[in-house]
């Protein structure tokens, strides 16, 4: 079968090309309708899960300093590997809803302050022991200990106590939080035997694959765990392997030469080239990650609301998406929230590039002289180019932007969250509450726009304790409007996650929660025989 036909038939199977279009394109390639139809059915058949084989991923984001201790995970490789060998109480689905995982059901008291999780029975750890509510309590204790270095400490901060009650685990919170179950999806909160208190780096969990080789910064291998509780739903390949390939060119070459079956982080500027490689499918999905220009609302000259509005109107968002993301993304609306979040209101007016309005507000602000924007190539891919584009679109509104390029080493400690106007990125959070609490709440450590708004803070705390979804949605709408109109953040674009798979990979699920199919690519996908 020619590569092109092969590719087209797989597109149909994935639902990305209609049957009629396929037959048309096949005819153009000189293939009869009968033969083309038979190709289609074999491609569709191949979409059923296939067992066995070794599924390999080449991934950016691993280093020899990585560890199997979930508390230490920061970068892509250790925690994407962790998603295969460990499991949390719940799991966020591609549609943003929660699925039960090691908890079968959950509920809260009327004031959303006490949450009860029923723990699944008959789940085995890789060492043969049964998972119990005690293990869950111990895990939560380890990650919420004030001396812990766990990356989940911030998430666990609002929890007062975690106690076992029969076959349930009860969380008592300091303040009401309707989103608590979402927090339990955090990748640090893998349930470990005894909470991992004795041996945090043992790499023993309840996931579909058990750890057999762990060479940090080189490769990680898991084999199928025969007693996995969720049976056939996850873990199709007999073995999975993550090879750490931090160099983008090497990663693409490894996919092309068939050494790996999937890769993460295809750079937008080479996507169109990779797409043309026979047998390679680009898997891009809209996510919650976004690039930001951040101005400190409490520092002159940015303490002037008109200047902030002028800077917002001077941003040409469409051009940014087209040039910086090569179309692999969507325009932002000066709030960190987009349609990928639950309880998002899509009726907020989209801010557009408007040099006249920008000039009007700029004049009204009374600001004189250039505005200094600090940037660096580590701020986000294409950050320098974005600063220059912004410089040009702002110039048309009569605003002079002076771009200062800072060294990448030290950008996050010396410039971001320190200097009044700079570029940065955010990876997004599972819920609106978490995103706002992390970076827009007046008391947040990472309030990188120095946004102190009483009304916003009040709404945030209110919404957190509100169990009525319609009311919460309305509150979040108000909060988004406040940030959009009064905040110091300019959000020109939300970037897609761009991964790529070879023709041997079946069962890819687009999942915008994280790259690599929400992090589950290796256990969701299978090798087409």
């Amino acid at each position: 079968m020619s590569n092109e036909l092969d590719y087209l038939s797989r597109r149909v199977a994935l639902g990305k090309l209609s049957r009629r279009d396929f037959l048309g394109r096949a005819a153009a390639l000189g293939v009869t309708t009968v033969f083309a139809n038979s190709l289609l059915s074999s491609a569709a058949l191949a979409e059923g899960p296939v067992k066995g084989g070794t599924l390999k991923a080449g991934m950016q984001g691993g280093a020899s300093t990585d560890s199997l201790d979930p508390a230490t995970w920061q970068s892509q490789v250790p925690y994407k590997f962790g998603r295969q060998w460990g499991e949390q109480l719940v799991e966020i689905q591609p549609d943003g809803k929660l699925n039960p995982k090691l908890a079968t059901e959950w509920g809260s008291s009327d004031d959303a302050k006490v949450w009860t999780f029923k723990i699944r029975k008959g789940v085995q750890f890789h060492d043969g022991k049964e998972m119990t509510p005690d293990d869950v309590v111990a895990t939560m204790e380890r990650h919420s200990d004030a001396n812990s270095k766990s990356g989940a400490l911030g998430v666990m901060g609002g929890i007062e106590s975690v106690k076992k009650d029969g076959d349930t685990v009860v969380f008592t919170l300091k303040e009401a939080n309707a989103d608590l179950p979402f927090l339990m999806d955090d990748y640090h909160l893998m349930i470990q035997p005894g909470g991992g208190k004795d041996k945090p780096t043992a790499g023993i969990g309840t996931g579909p694959y058990k750890v057999v080789t762990d060479e940090p910064g080189v490769r990680h291998i898991g084999t199928k765990f025969p007693n996995y509780w969720d049976g056939d739903k996850r873990g199709h390949a007999e073995q999975i392997e993550i090879i750490v390939i931090n160099d983008a060119t090497a990663r693409t070459a490894a996919l092309q030469s068939g050494q790996v079956h999937m890769i993460n982080r295809v750079e937008p500027k080479i996507v169109d080239l990779v797409k043309r490689v026979p047998g390679v499918t680009i898997q891009n999905v809209a996510g919650k990650g976004h690039y930001v220009f951040i101005a400190h609302c409490n520092t002159a000259p940015f303490d002037n609301m008109d200047l902030r509005l002028a800077l917002k109107y001077a941003m040409n968002r469409e051009e940014m998406v087209k040039t910086i993301l090569r179309g692999y993304g969507s325009v932002g609306n000066d709030t960190p929230i987009n349609k990928a979040y639950p309880l998002f209101s899509d009726d907020i007016e989209q801010r557009k590039y408007d040099p006249d309005k920008a000039a009007f507000h700029y004049k009204k602000s009374g600001h004189d002289g250039a505005v200094l924007l600090r940037t660096s190539d580590v701020a986000f891919p294409g950050a320098i180019d974005a600063a220059q584009l912004y410089q040009q679109s702002a110039a048309k509104a009569g605003i002079t932007i002076e771009v200062k390029r800072e060294p990448g080493d030290g950008y996050w400690s010396q410039v971001w969250n320190k200097q009044p106007f700079s570029e940065s990125y955010w990876g997004g959070r599972p819920t609106q509450d978490q995103m706002f609490s992390t970076a827009y709440y007046s008391k947040a450590d990472w309030n990188d726009t120095r946004f102190f708004n009483e009304k916003f803070d009040k709404l945030l705390l209110q919404a957190r304790g509100e169990l009525d979804e319609a009311k919460r949605k309305a509150m979040y709408r108000d909060m988004n409007v406040i940030v959009r109109d009064e905040g110091g953040v300019i959000v020109p674009m939300f970037n897609d996650f761009i991964d790529a798979t070879s023709k041997k990979v079946g069962g890819w699920v687009p999942d915008g929660n994280q790259e690599m199919s929400g992090g589950y690519a290796l256990s969701r996908c299978w090798l087409i025989a």
Binding site: S67, T201, E215, N246, D247, A250, A253, A254, S257
Partner: protein, 319 residues
Amino acid sequence: MSTPVLKLVAQRIAMGVLLLLAVSVLIFVGTQILPGDVAQSILGQSATPQALENLRRDMGLNDPAYIRYFRWLGGILTGNLGTALSSGQDIATSLKDRLWNTLFLASAAAVVSVPLAIGLGLLAVRYRNGPVDKIISGLGLASTSLPEFFTGYLLIYFVAVQLQWFPSVSTVYEGMPFGERLSAIALPVTVLTLVVLAHMMRMTRAAILNVMQSAYIETAELKGLTPLQIITRHAFPNAIAPIVNVVMLNLAFLIVGVVVVEVIFVYPGMGQYLVDHVAKRDVPVVQACGLVFAAVYISLNIVADIVAIVSNPRLRHPK
């Protein structure tokens, strides 16, 4: 072997040990003057003064610098390099694997490049100033002038992706069959060979040409020896010292300077290991790597010196 040679060799070795000690002081001082101390890097931004104080006391960081230096040095001499801050693993254990991988890659590259370079150098002298010499020198210089990442990517594209002869990802691991291992490192070895080839080849050529001006070469010619015999029997042995020097320099480069090649081919060697730990400010690992690199450099240079001494007949047979 006669006493003057032994004496000279012993001197060289003693000098090397002293030099290594001096380097260890430099490394220690260098990492001390970095802002923040080890306790701070372990605890990170959220460190409380009390926790910092406790950890400093536990780790003995409150002692004067010279005491800490000797404690560190004592640890190294007894094979205890300490534990990595970032992963809590024993440095000696993880470093050993990485060093072994690096030495494996370097020796494979040396096995290919050294005989090739010297052979080509001899050929160039034999046909000096002719087309063969010009072609050898030209190609050698061209391959050295191209940056490693460029030749690396070219090889990946043509040999790994198009022809699929060798893998582009050179991950090696313990228990890998030797044949597979060789196939995995074929491309990085090629790149490294191309990088170091010209330097050694040109030096061989220059050193031998220098000797070829001597009166005894003329005598050999008058005896009726063939040009190749003259080169291999009379010129080469007398040119060994400078050739060994440049060979050792290149071997040292193969061990301590291959981080770019390691990144491109995803080879788990020392360079990548060092860079990862520098990024995480993992000072004990950086110190250990620095010392290993210094030791490699110094010992290879000692070997070069010793070879030069031993190959010098005037030193071997004093009057």
